[in-house]
Amino acid sequence: MHFFAEKIRRRQLKLKKILNSEVLEFVDIDSSEFENRVYSEDLKERVAEEFEYFKHRLIFRKKYNLAPLDSRFLEMTDEDILFDLMLQNKTDEETQKYLDKGKKEEVLAKDNTELFQTDDNTMDLIEQGTDIDLDSLIKNKDNWEEI
């Protein structure tokens, strides 16, 4: 009984050794050699072709973070994909325009706000350091909230 157990243990050790050496050999593969083995010229050509003709599909998948075999992607036609991308592009453009317009109006509103009723003469006096009652220059003083 002991003899057979020892025999099995030895065989297992031998198998483990072989397996380890195989795995190590695989891991030790030089990256360029690996590239030559896996990425043939044919594959590179296919990638270039896929990118040339189906760029819109790749953009769509990237935009919505979809896997190549995602059913939501597989159930779209090319026309649907192009329509969606064009619509999204238009929406982005219009949103940006709207935001820019809002910013411009905000800047204009800020520039046109006059808190003090001043003229060149008053400004000269302020610059010279003359003591001026600023309260008297405030516009629409009645509308101001009292603190």
Binding site: S71, L74, E75, M76, T77, D78, E79, D80, I81
Partner: protein, 109 residues
């Protein structure tokens, strides 16, 4: 999204009339077309361009006909019907890729 459907086309295959409509294939169906073409070509180391084209056309028609009659089997058709099959594929291509003005809109103007 709803699939766009073509008008009805009528063809004569094996002495029988078939009315079919086409749709634009989804990405999944396009993959299926490629797989079916590869299956049809499988086993032949080299095919002549005509046979290769016919394999692709049959695979495409199998995927894009929406109301395909049960008794319409492209693989069982003999060579006399191949012209009609090529015409079918050409009609599908005209619908899918070279769609002209909408006939209803054209009638209004």
């Amino acid at each position: 999204m709803s699939a766009k459907v073509s008008q009805t086309f009528t063809y004569n295959l094996n002495g029988k009339e078939y009315s079919v409509q086409y749709k634009k294939p989804t990405i999944g169906e396009q993959i299926k077309i490629g797989q079916q073409t590869a299956t049809l070509k499988g086993g032949f180391p080299a095919l002549d361009p005509a046979s290769e084209g016919l394999a692709f056309k049959i695979s495409t028609l199998n995927a894009v006909i929406i109301n395909k009659p049960a008794d319409l089997d492209f693989l069982s058709l003999d060579s006399d019907n191949w012209d009609e099959v090529i015409k079918m594929h050409s009609d599908y291509e005209n619908f899918a890729f070279f769609r002209g003005e909408n006939p209803q809109a054209a009638a209004k103007t």
